[in-house]
């Protein structure tokens, strides 16, 4: 039996729970058909999340199917963002997919890139420093010093996969004009894996401490707010703490979804909920970092 999992027409972190709910309906042994034919737009978070779903589905049953977006502009963008290069290994793809190489253009700072080992993190950090510094300083108005901090935040986000997921994952970085929410440009880092998730990763060291409260939400809270790690090494837990410091300095946002929970450090410009629990279950962890264009003292955007 094949089960349909609809990809939202506007596929980003806000519509992700709708996607996860459809995914969570699947039973072992069912073949999944991810239907993106009506997709009109997908954020980097949507694209890497879809890959994570594909990987998890492949582990549970038959190789999943994917219907590519019907809109030629959308499918072309997904190709330029590097999505199909990775999706080809995971899905049986139906629909016309352009044979475009991942983009070397200003908005795609890092196409969808697999992260499986420390060497991949090195490559990602090296690429982003070459490509992102001009965007971060000239277009977002960030201090050139922020570029290195950005690379550090990206490195630590990717290392969560290498150190904790127990499997590979993907990262993508993109700059775009976020008219609907902010009327400013933003840079978005999205990282997703279909691994064990935060709760499983921290269970052996933290579950007892939390007692009945232990679950996905408590695990996310422990990792992001309290800076705990599954390793007993006293220096562990630096990565997420460092990301938080960087984002606090540049008025950025972090949100992490894992299992059935989602936690966010919410800046003033956003109205997201700090902690959500009892969400539809989704494998692994999905991390979203947003760094907005710096506003000048008069309140206008720096261009």
């Amino acid at each position: 039996m094949t089960r349909l999992v609809e990809v939202p027409t506007q596929f980003d972190d806000r519509s992700f729970d709708q996607f996860a709910a459809a995914y969570a309906q699947a039973r072992d042994g069912e073949r999944l058909l991810f239907d993106a034919h009506a997709a009109e737009w997908a954020s980097p978070y949507g694209l890497v999340g879809l890959l994570a779903a594909g990987e998890a589905a492949a582990h549970k049953g038959e190789r999943p199917l994917l219907t590519a977006p019907a809109n030629p502009d959308v499918v072309s963008y997904w190709a330029r963002a590097g999505f199909f290069r990775e999706a080809a290994d995971l899905f049986e793809i139906h629909g016309k997919v352009p044979k475009t190489r991942p983009a070397v253009e200003s908005d795609v700072l890092l196409p969808v890139t697999p992260v499986r080992a420390a060497e991949d993190v090195h490559a990602v950090v090296s690429t982003i420093q070459q490509r992102a510094s001009a965007i971060l300083s000239s277009e977002l108005g960030l201090d050139p010093k922020a570029t290195m901090g950005f690379a550090m935040a990206l490195s630590e986000s990717c290392q969560n996969i290498v150190e904790h997921a127990g499997t590979g994952g993907w990262v993508a970085v993109q700059a775009y004009n976020w008219r609907r929410k902010l009327a400013r440009r933003v840079v978005v880092i999205a990282v997703a894996d279909a691994g064990v998730g935060f709760r499983h990763s921290l269970e052996s060291t933290q579950a007892k401490r939390f007692g009945d409260r232990w679950g996905d939400a408590a695990a996310l809270e422990a990792a992001l707010v309290q800076g705990v790690s599954r390793f007993r090494d006293p220096g562990r837990g630096q990565g997420l703490a460092g990301i938080r410091r960087y984002l606090a300095r540049w008025d950025g946002k972090i949100a992490i979804r894992s299992g059935t929970a989602r936690i966010a450090i919410v800046p003033r410009w956003d109205d997201d909920v700090p902690l959500k629990d009892a969400l539809p279950a989704f494998p692994g962890s999905q991390v979203l970092l947003i760094i907005p264009e710096l506003q000048t003292e008069k309140g206008s955007s720096k261009q």
Binding site: A118, V125, K145, A151, M152, R245
Partner: protein, 138 residues
């Protein structure tokens, strides 16, 4: 030079000190080269990005486990931003030699001045009339 050790420790040409495995490999190479003595010196010239994990794996662990006094050179502001909170969080400190030769403590507020005082007391550094501290020629 830390960058030279990085090239020995990691396959491929990278100038960034990122990830714990890289940090571990670099630290282990440094530990093999450590000479007995009071001060170990690490020069970060040529190092690109240094992330928090690597800062912990290299700098904090060397200070915690292997060397009494660590002097860092060639740091950029970004390197400092990675190293400082890692050391401060662990209650550790190192010495930092600025490009103009002035020494500063880096890390936790308590042990940092004590390191400078100890250097002066052992005449390895001297306090100038203006109050700044520099290494002595010896």
């Amino acid at each position: 030079m830390v960058q030279a050790v990085l090239q020995q420790a990691v396959a491929g040409f990278y100038t960034d000190l990122v990830t714990r495995p890289t940090g571990r490999a670099v630290r282990e190479n440094i530990e093999r080269e450590l000479l007995p003595g009071m001060i170990a010196v690490m020069d970060f010239t040529g190092v690109g990005c240094l992330d928090y994990s690597c800062a912990d794996e290299i700098v904090a662990k060397l200070v915690r486990d292997r060397v009494k006094m660590l002097l860092l050179r060639g740091l950029t502001d970004a390197h400092r931003e990675a190293i400082e909170p890692v050391l401060a969080g662990a209650g550790l400190a190192v010495l930092y030699e600025r490009p103009d030769g002035v020494l500063e403590g880096l890390g936790a507020s308590e042990p940092a001045p004590a390191l400078l005082d100890e250097l002066v007391a052992r005449r390895l550094a001297a306090r100038n009339p203006g109050g700044s501290i520099r290494l002595t020629a010896a």
